[in-house]
Symmetry: C2
Subunit: 387 residues, 2 copies
């Protein structure tokens, strides 16, 4: 470093803040947050080691467990959904373990990569983007791949708009390998789509606050079965931040966290859970079914091709649509954003620019979805698309 | 699992929310948040992959770099301060590396433990709680311990209210071992106490949003020198979530993050940085000096003993006071909390119940500190304390 570089850093000049117009945010997370949940964040800070925060955790934790459908404790971390993937891997596996990854898109690939980064030997059962994990194919491959310590799978693949049949997949894993750990990435499904951790005998399930939970990003929630807790005890992965034992210990002794939790997001979660229970778990599922059917129906009526090859496995939280021949996704998204304040998501990875995605999870109304699909139809026509 | 246990989990009954009265929150984090910063969190969600979020990062990032006093990029993660400790360790070291940990309290111990969890061979230069890291002692021990890959140190030890002389410690490490990586935990100091990353030639510096930054917990900020980035390239630690390369790549290509950032906390940070620059870096430091002097002065006038043995190294962000003989910290804190809505912190680890801590960092007024110290004086008398 030269002396010049060691000089004091001056105050930087930055561009002024410009207000964001009211948007119809239709990406698959962050999702819109109800006004009272937004407002809940603005309460003054409290001590994360005091009774007021413990009271929040005491309300939040059992209600999360209800949505997970588990009698295990749901643990919470300041993290994104990817943190949930890492937290799952480092708590139950050890370097050198053989683990099977069922992959149907970008987030499945990420989970496998994280396991590999930690020295897990990953065998992939991979399906093309748009396909679901066909249980017959999975069963045949699992038989070839045995023995394995665990099987990781994505409930709802945000990159392709496909929902796996976790109940069937979990049952077949359990039948073939009774002791295998079933790790389920439920980031963009849990609370929006049916998932029952204990009844389906799942071992690790995690999700993220910015999806179906109707709060901003920043809280990751994860639960482990008795089988996973046993695996945790002998897991030799290096870990500290993600360690379940310290988190459970602090939760059980004081309804608190071993490190500082994102307090304002817990205010939001507390209120969001009230609203979710007011609506009811089944009613939330039904609303997402209607949303998925509506968005897919509109897309198909426009002659558009869904990425999800099989309607039975099309996601009810996010719909991925192929960009029509000759139409650039970027141009469509820009028109929607600039002219209508409608925000859709591009494709990820190799599908960037070749598809667009519409989020319909968490907090939304029928009118939001209709406005978005009307605008897609109008702009596609303007861009020269003819069905 | 029995069939009984696999039955559906019913909706739990939880206690109703009770409003939290207005508190004088005087713990060393989470710290009080100014009303306009609180309110900023309540803005609607936006796409973390869109231009509106990039605009926030473009404003926030260079201003964080100004407070770090670095020309390196400051990276941000959804995490607590402990996440910063883990992020530092896993990005620059490798299993088997020999690293020196200078420890003056609980958070120094935690940093050493994290490094050990990842297979680093840690040599401790440990000082009793209340002592600062005496450069002469550190120098002698470092000479014995050479060679080492890096030296980790705490700027401000939140558990003891002691601030290390990082400039002197860093200079002596650099003189003894020019290539050693200097890792500084600045969680409860940065922005409140002078710290100059580039001018002092520090290699890794990290901090947390819930301390001097006047926003709620949930964002961890970290920066690395050119030397640390070189070490990062050859570091063999398993990592994914904390990986600097993917975070820098996304920041440089689009002013975004590789995973979903805590959007509402970035709204808050953006506004908090406006306020911090309005006040001015030097003025913030001066305000914290006055706060530290005031709180220590009041404690000493009451005949109380500070944990910090040497006034020159007493912290200006948190004061740790020994509980007087025969007085239980818990009783004092309960009276302050229940009768005056003043929230102080207990001691940590082996000092729990034997001391109390008063936070004076971030957003506070002279009146807040005076009210807290008046109440401490009154309640100690009621509890039978005579100076």
């Amino acid at each position: 470093m030269t002396i010049q570089e060691r000089k004091a850093i001056p105050v930087p000049q930055v561009e002024a803040r410009t207000p964001v117009p009211r948007q119809n945010l239709r990406v698959p997370g962050p999702t819109p947050v109800p006004p009272d949940v937004l407002e809940a964040q603005a309460a003054p800070m409290i001590n994360h080691r005091g009774p007021e925060f413990s009271a929040i955790m005491k309300r939040v934790t059992p209600r999360l467990e209800y949505f997970f459908q588990t009698r295990s404790r749901v643990l919470t971390y300041p993290a994104s959904g990817t943190g949930g993937q890492e937290c799952a891997v480092v708590n139950v596996f050890s370097p050198g373990d053989h683990v099977v990854s069922i992959i149907i898109g970008n987030f499945g690939t990420r989970l496998a990569k994280i396991a590999e980064a930690y020295g897990v030997k990953v065998s992939r059962i991979e399906f093309a983007w748009g396909e679901f994990a066909d249980p017959a194919v999975v069963e045949a491959r699992l038989k070839e791949l045995a023995p394995y310590k665990g099987v990781m799978m994505t409930h709802n693949e945000t990159s392709t708009g496909v929902t796996n049949d976790i109940q069937t997949l979990a049952a077949l894993v359990r039948r073939l390998s009774p002791d295998a750990l079933i790790v389920v990435d439920a980031v963009s499904s849990l609370s929006s789509l049916p998932l029952e951790m204990d009844p389906w005998d799942l071992d690790v399930v995690f999700t993220g606050s910015q999806k179906g939970w109707m709060i901003p990003p920043g809280i990751m929630m994860i639960a482990a079965s008795e089988r996973a807790w046993q695996a945790h005890k002998t897991s030799k992965m290096p870990r500290f931040y993600w360690d379940w034992s310290s988190t459970l210990k602090q939760l059980e002794s004081s309804w608190q966290h071993p490190t500082t939790p994102p307090v304002s997001l817990f205010y939001a979660l507390d209120v969001a859970l009230d609203k979710m229970l007011d609506e009811g778990r089944e009613a939330i599922f039904a609303r997402h079914v209607r949303a998925g059917e509506y968005v897919r129906g509109r897309a198909q009526a426009m002659g558009l091709e869904l990425l999800a090859k099989d309607a039975r496995y099309a996601s009810n939280t996010v719909t991925a649509i192929r960009a029509p021949e000759g139409i650039e996704t970027k141009a469509l998204l820009k028109k929607l954003h600039d002219q209508d304040q409608i925000v859709l998501a591009d494709g990820q990875d190799h599908m960037k620019g070749k598809m667009f995605r519409i989020g319909h999870l968490g907090y939304f109304t029928d009118a939001d979805l209709q406005q978005a699909m009307d605008a897609v139809e109008r702009h596609l026509k303007e861009l020269g698309y003819r069905a």
